[in-house]
């Protein structure tokens, strides 16, 4: 049975994949369905949802189209979340591999740096970074707090792999230590690291939303966190302004997590069988 068919047999995974597909479709179609600036005023302010069918989800305090903002916000959430998670995974895998493979002083130094980053709450780290450097490097800010997990997992895996015969074999044929680390060891240490990706992407999307909520996101881009923050001022009179992007956020994180777990599960089963 192929991995895809096994994936399709898991209802949670399919639900996650559908949510993720809708999100990606929203992100991709945002500028087609809602061309122009989503932050431009489109109608009267604080129009409730399902009143005017040209503005199905209503308008916010300044009269901006909530649906257009939602679509464009999907783009930000997905781009920032995926980029930050990818950066965290790459940095973590490289640092963990170097530490585990080199051992000795290199290991000590790299792991103490990892400890230092891990002891500071990741959100606080992102907050501090953004308030110093500015919101343009939000991806780096989010990755800063999340690369330590992958680094630790990669190091633990590398420590066991580097004692295997094939690593000794690579040394015997005269391979350069860096080539051994990145060609022979790292690819075999990746599966448990990649298994963390669903949690990391979900966390990165949430962190991005939280930063935007605090007004530390990129002000030139629509973000769901920023929309919730905007809606907070009129929470009693127009709660839908916070609820709509809030639901989108919950569904996105849920979709990423379920689809990610589904992929991990199906690949784990395949490894177990072989």
């Amino acid at each position: 049975m192929s991995a895809l068919r096994r994936f399709l047999r898991t209802p949670e995974a399919v639900a996650g994949a559908i949510l993720l597909a809708v999100l990606i479709a929203m992100a991709l179609s945002a500028s087609l369905l809602f061309p122009g600036d989503p932050q431009a005023i489109a109608g009267p302010a604080l129009l409730p949802p399902f009143q005017d069918w040209s503005l199905p989800l209503g308008t916010d305090r300044l009269g901006r189209d909530v649906l257009a903002e939602l679509f464009h916000g999907a783009r930000t959430s997905l781009a920032v979340g995926l980029a930050a998670a990818a950066a965290a995974l790459v940095v973590g895998a490289v640092v963990g591999t170097l530490a585990g493979f080199a051992g000795g002083l290199v290991d000590e130094v790299l792991m103490r740096i990892t400890d230092a980053f891990q002891t500071v709450p990741s959100f606080l780290l992102a907050l501090a970074f953004v308030s110093v450097v500015g919101p343009s490097l939000g991806v780096v800010a989010i990755a800063l707090g999340t690369w330590t997990g992958p680094a630790r997992v990669a190091r633990a895996e590398v420590l066991s792999i580097r004692e295997r015969d094939y690593v000794a074999g690579a040394r015997v044929i005269g391979m350069h230590p860096l080539a051994i680390a990145f060609r022979e060891v790292l690819p075999n240490a990746l599966p448990p690291v990649l298994a963390m990706s669903s949690v990391i992407v979900a966390a990165a999307i949430l962190t991005e939303a939280a930063l935007s909520f605090l007004g530390l996101g990129d002000p030139n881009r629509v973000t769901w966190g920023g929309m919730i923050s905007e809606g907070r001022a009129v929470l009693r009179t127009a709660p839908f302004l916070s609820i709509v992007p809030g639901i989108a956020l919950v569904l996105t994180v849920l979709g990423v997590y379920l689809a990610g777990e589904g992929i991990v599960e199906t690949t784990a089963v395949r490894r177990g069988l072989s």
Binding site: Y166, I173, G174
Partner: protein, 258 residues
């Protein structure tokens, strides 16, 4: 002039406050084109010696001279370049290869690293290597885990001879193979030695195999040399206590009748 001269080699391990010598003042030499066997019970230090000779681990004391150079003095790039002359075949042919590798990649690596063949020429060289060890060239694109244990050990031997070494360390290289395959691999090793004048440092606990392939044998006990000499002489009439014990423990088909 010997090819490999090991003198006073010592490797100690610290375990729970006590220092244990895994290899204790061991000296031996290997001549060009000859097979020296290292035999001994588990824990006698034979695999440690293999790893020391290949500089996979560093000795605490002693000298290793290889091709008339101080092998322990070589560093980094110089050591990696010299490794072309000194190769190894491992016991478990599955563990000895990257699980993601294909046969072609395994054989491509040494050719590329030591600049033996240009990129365009390598597929032809790989095919020639496969044929040299009794395999067919169409095995090249296969994944390592798809081929049989015997084929895998042949690929391991092909990798070892790719760089035209003068010495190959065989660490229990036939112990994990079943009996029929073992004979074929031993035959291949003898043939390679005749054709290419490669010397072997043959590590095994199987005295029967040693008697059939090795010229000389060294019996090890607890990290020290217990006995050494001509392989047949030593195995047929061991003088040391450990030699007698090993010979007595070896399974025999022709049980002594009344």
């Amino acid at each position: 002039m010997s090819l490999l001269a090991v003198s006073n080699l010592t490797k100690r391990y610290r375990r729970g406050g006590k220092t244990i010598a895994a290899v204790d003042d061991v000296s031996f030499h290997v001549d060009p084109g000859e097979t020296l066997a290292l035999a001994g019970p588990s824990g006698s230090g034979k695999s440690t010696i293999a790893r020391l000779v290949l500089r996979l681990i560093e000795p605490d004391d002693g000298r290793i001279e290889f091709e008339s150079d101080d092998f322990l003095a070589l560093r980094r790039a110089a050591l990696r370049a010299r490794r072309a002359r000194l190769q190894m075949v491992f016991q478990d042919p599955l563990a000895a290869f990257n699980p993601r590798a294909t046969v072609a990649r395994v054989l491509d690596d040494p050719l590329r690293i030591h600049g033996i063949a240009s990129r365009a020429e390598r597929p032809r060289r790989i095919a020639a290597l496969l044929e040299r060890v009794g395999l067919t060239a169409d095995l090249a694109p296969r994944a390592i885990h798809e081929i049989s244990g015997g084929q895998r050990q042949r690929v391991a031997i092909a990798r070892a001879i790719a760089t035209k070494p003068s010495l190959i360390v065989l660490d229990e290289a036939v112990s994990a193979l079943d009996v029929s395959v073992r004979g074929e691999i031993l035959e291949l090793l003898l043939d390679l030695q005749r054709q290419e004048k490669i010397a072997y440092l043959f590590i095994s606990h199987d005295l029967g195999v040693i008697r059939s392939i090795a010229h000389r044998v060294i019996l090890l006990d607890a990290g020290r040399v217990a006995e050494n000499g001509d392989a047949r002489t030593v195995i047929d009439a061991p003088q040391s206590a450990i030699g007698k014990a090993l010979v007595a423990a070896a399974p025999r088909l022709n049980r002594a009748g009344p």
